[in-house]
Amino acid sequence: MVLSYFRRGYSTFTAKVIDVPPRLLSFLFFLLLLVFPLTKPSSDLLQTLAQYSTLAIFAASWDFLVGRSGQLSLGHALFFGVAAYSTGGLISHFGLPLWETIPLSVLICVLVAFLVGFPCLRVKGPYLALVTLAFPIILLTIFLGLPSDWFGAENGITGLPVFFPIEKGLGWQAQERALYQQSIAQYYLILLFLFVSSYILYKLAYSKTGIILVSILDDEVASKASGINTTKYKLMAFGISGFFAALSGCLYVHSGHTGSVGLSSLALTQSFVPIILTIFGGLGTIYGPIAGAYILMFLGEFVLHDLMLGLAGLMTDIGLVGLGQHLEWNISTWVGSGTSPGLIFIIIVIILVIKWPTGIAKSLVDKLDDLQEARELEERGKKK
């Protein structure tokens, strides 16, 4: 009897403390991603999806750090950029193969993460955020000034290999097919990384480590009094976060038809990307940023892009030619391109933070939880 009481307590407890999305939903979601290529999407769309998948990993890594250990990182681009530049640099200077440079880059980045984590131990709150903000800016400035044969200065490094390279010298048609297959292969490869990364991050966040991190976030002194080595765990959070952020950076560089890395990987806008995705989806959930990535991709690529073009056309039609033209020319600034978040999304995030801090995916999950609880109460009422 005690055991059944405990079992019920456990499942409701995890559901209340740390929300668990219904397994079914997650399963369906990944299934959808898995079978999507069967709908014969264009090569570009596949590329975009792959891109957003890497950003999803990036955002999940940020969410782990901020939503679990409470250390606000406003400079997450540092990890992304360091890994990206590491793999790019290692290839362009030492000609190492992909499967060597990527693990090396991730390792380098984890070391950097610890290096950043150390000073962050001594400061907290806004100061910590500022330290994290400072690092990528410093690095960016240094890279800008270094001689161009080091890291390509403003232009970055181009001509890097990608996953599943195609043969050279193919005829036009054969090349088209090969490129398409490359896109599909890359899509699945990155999806695999996404599955594994999200699973690991999820497990970590919703387990003993997760509870410890949350306890540190809630009250570090009390956590110490419970026997927790808070320093170790805070650093660990940085390391884990840095690991997955680095992974996403490497994946990003080596996907697409040609690989390249540029200063944008260290820019502030890059640091803001995981913030947008996570706030959209729900802070501290791990599944939130991932869901957020796809929601925003969907919104950005399909809905908003066409909406903006349509709006631009409308403006021109009704005589506001200036406005219409402005919208059309500047669509990438408004909607975003590649990894650069559009103005619209930044504004949406601001509004979200002010009005709806829980995040969309989490709110959905909360609603589902409430429904389930209501159902359970009804069941119990009936039994009586």
């Binding site: 209340k16 809630d218 009390a222 026997g227």
Partner: protein, 243 residues
């Protein structure tokens, strides 16, 4: 060998000496009371012993081992647990998760036999202090009395040998006070050694065999409750000068 041995412990804050060459010891299985007017340095002493503050000089030995310079979590893992004067729960976590944190710390996890999970142990602890009903309530929703019990459960879950309780009776109504008295007696029988800081002397004197009195950071008296209540210096300190 004493369980706890404090020797000439001193802590200065700028010009103020909060704890001045305090020495005392505690035997295994004792309950010792620590009293003194406000500002006497009792909590500071606790903070020094448990590593939350670094002392300027003096030593603290636990089971013969010098723990003076250890980090708070290391001291907990040696077997010294404490509660706080003003409770410090993990506000956003439910009660059971609060206790679970202790259960996943190195020492707290030690006693988990292969059948037991941290959740199981946490549940047991909550039962010990009578909080099973509240197990899923976020700590921020709990009443003061319950929070005190939660604090106790968290401390106990670290499997300590020595318990330092800082004003455990503060804010409790008579029923809760009675319950706590019974609990502490039970823990004593279970083998826990305790040092209790308390202002509610009537409750404290029922529990302890030995009392240490602090005033302005110095130990001014030590003895049985009866001896202390008759000690002139102690009376002066609490009542003001008598003629």
């Amino acid at each position: 060998m004493y369980l706890l041995e404090v020797e000439n412990l001193t802590k200065r804050f700028g010009g103020l000496t909060a704890v001045n060459k305090v020495s005392f010891h505690v035997d295994e299985g004792e309950i010792v009371g620590l009293i003194g007017p406000n500002g006497a340095g009792k909590t500071t002493l606790f903070n020094l012993i448990t590593g939350f503050l670094k002392s300027d000089s003096g030593t603290v030995r636990f089971k013969g081992k010098d723990i003076t310079r250890l980090e708070p979590h290391e001291i907990v893992n040696e077997g010294v647990a404490r509660t706080f004067q003003v409770v410090r729960p993990f506000h956003h976590l439910p009660a059971i998760a609060n206790v679970m944190v202790s259960c996943v710390s190195p020492r707290g996890a030690r006693k988990l036999e292969w059948l037991k999970s941290p959740e199981r142990k946490a549940l047991d602890m909550l039962e010990e202090v009578g909080l099973t009903e509240m197990m899923l309530e976020p700590a921020e929703n709990l009443a003061h009395g319950d929070l005190k019990r939660l604090e106790m459960a968290r401390a106990l879950a670290t499997e300590p040998e020595l318990l330092l309780l800082d004003e455990p009776f503060s804010g409790l109504n008579p029923i809760e006070t009675d319950y706590l008295l019974k609990s502490i007696r039970r823990f004593h029988l279970d083998g826990y050694t305790m040092v209790i800081v308390e202002h509610k002397l009537h409750a404290l004197m029922k529990l302890v065999k030995r009392v240490i009195v602090l005033h302005y950071g110095e130990k001014i008296a030590e003895g049985s409750p009866k001896e202390i209540s008759q000690n002139k210096k102690v009376i002066e300190v609490y009542m003001g000068r008598v003629a």
